[in-house]
């Protein structure tokens, strides 16, 4: 429980040298204290080695932390721990980033935006987002710790057959669906008020342009809005 609670602050000391290295050591410290309770020198040695550079998606850090604690309890030598952490960090980062940052989170946010655009009270839409998202978020953290503690060094194999990949695919499909819904609602003026037919047509074309160009369209869109402000001020000053 202490490790789970601390995992919410694992990125508290994120820096470009060790990434979440110090945070990882912070998370596993309670378990290390139990493991090395009569061996203070070994405890400090373990704490120091776990401050080495390390990275993971914050919600999946429990997988590595649980496995490392299990390995430390089993008396695994330092080189084994180092090799394990080097091997697992890539998977935990890429799986977590794909599932949460590029899947579940934007999908949940889109759901909230669709609800708001459909006339649902904004507070209800936001509550839906927070409850839905954090149910999965906290469950994943707890699951990660259980998986790591149970499987130790072989956790990578368990990760490959876990439901995470299926969950990512489901999030991505749902997100794309909700994106389609919201795009239409925004083009129809549900976010900004009733537009004219010309505006709806232009917005629909803009969606297509965005699909073709990808996220880089954001900067030109921002610049156009900024230029509109400037044009308005110039017009106001001149008139």
């Amino acid at each position: 429980m202490a490790m789970l609670a601390r995992s919410f602050a694992v990125q508290g000391s994120f820096n470009y040298r060790t990434l979440i290295g110090a945070g990882f050591a912070f998370v596993v410290l309670p378990a290390l204290r139990r493991t090395f309770q009569d061996r203070p020198l070994e405890l400090e040695e373990a704490v120091r080695r776990h401050q080495e550079p390390f990275n993971s998606h914050p919600y999946l850090v429990g997988v590595a932390a649980g496995a490392v604690v299990r390995l430390e309890q089993d008396g695994a030598p330092a080189p084994v721990l180092e090799r394990f952490k080097s091997a697992i960090r890539g998977s935990l980062g890429s799986i977590g980033d794909a599932l949460f940052w590029a899947g579940f989170r934007p999908a949940c946010v889109l759901l909230a935006l669709v609800l708001v655009s459909s006339g649902v009270p904004f507070w209800l839409a936001i509550l839906t987002f927070l409850v839905l998202y954090n149910t999965a978020h906290v469950s994943t953290r707890a699951w990660g710790f259980r998986l790591g503690l149970q499987h130790g060094a072989s956790v990578a194999a368990s990760l490959r057959v876990s439901p995470l990949v299926r969950a990512w695919r489901a999030s991505a499909v749902t997100g794309a669906f909700l994106l389609g819904t919201l795009s239409l609602l925004v083009a129809a003026g549900r976010l900004t008020g009733e537009p004219g037919p010309l505006s709806t047509l232009a917005a629909t074309i803009a969606v297509g342009a965005g699909i073709v160009l990808g996220p880089v369209i954001r900067l030109p869109a921002e610049i156009i809005l900024a230029l509109l402000v400037i044009a308005g001020v110039v017009r106001g000053v001149l008139s």
């Binding site: 470009y16 060790t18 819904t181 919201l182 925004v186």
Partner: protein, 222 residues
């Protein structure tokens, strides 16, 4: 307007983005609504937050990448908007949105500066890893420093933004219809661009089109 409260909210929102606990109150939709609610106009905060959120959809905080910090910018821009005498106008909303999109880059730069500067806190004076007790204290200290950073950048943004919205909004001689259309078109473009987050047109066109059909159905029902 209680600027201290705005700074406090910004500090909490900034923390949530990365340091603690990442429960997504740092999303612009949530942060903007929360700020608006605290300052007495939740609907306005939600409106600005929703627009800002659309622009933030495709920003992915992966690895050690540098990215804008939307949450604190959303708090600052909402405070600027709510505090302005022109708060109910589309001009003010447009200026606040543009300010939010600009200020999130400043907030993001403050995160980079903060991360670079805390590195030395996580080592002993002779460059070695910390002992267990010092690690706990230093880790907690870095979280407190992140809170202070976020609070400061939010406060500065809110003060600057307030001045900009107050000065620019009444002078921006633009029809409300034009502003609404421009925001809708810009948001639509960004939404289209966000499809790449889920795999792009090639992989997700069926789901996207079905979603658009569902959107049509929603429009017909309502």
């Amino acid at each position: 307007m209680s600027w201290g409260v705005v700074a406090l909210v910004g500090g909490v929102v900034g923390l949530d983005a990365t340091s603690f606990p990442q429960v997504m109150i740092s999303r612009p939709l949530v942060a903007g609504t929360l700020t608006g609610w605290i300052l007495g106009d939740p609907a306005l905060g939600a409106a600005l937050g929703a627009m800002h959120e659309i622009f933030s959809l495709a920003v992915l905080p992966v690895g050690a990448s540098r990215y804008p910090e939307a949450g604190t910018a959303s708090v600052a821009a909402t405070a600027a908007l709510v505090s302005s005498a022109a708060a109910g106008t589309w001009s003010a909303l447009l200026v606040a949105l543009v300010f939010a999109l600009l200020w999130e880059r400043v907030s993001g730069a403050s995160v980079v500066l903060y991360r670079r500067n805390i590195e030395r806190l996580l080592l002993t004076s002779d460059g070695n890893p910390l002992s267990s007790g010092r690690l706990e204290r230093r880790h907690t200290l870095t979280i407190a420093l992140d809170f202070a950073r976020a609070a400061l950048v939010t406060l500065l943004g809110a003060l600057l933004g307030s001045g900009l919205v107050t000065w620019l909004a009444p002078r921006a001689d633009l029809p409300a219809d034009l502003i609404r259309s421009a925001i809708a078109i810009a948001a639509a473009a960004v939404l289209g661009g966000s499809l790449r987050v889920f795999g792009g047109w090639a992989e997700r066109r069926r789901a996207f089109v079905l979603g658009a059909v569902a959107g049509c159905a929603l429009l017909l029902i309502q």
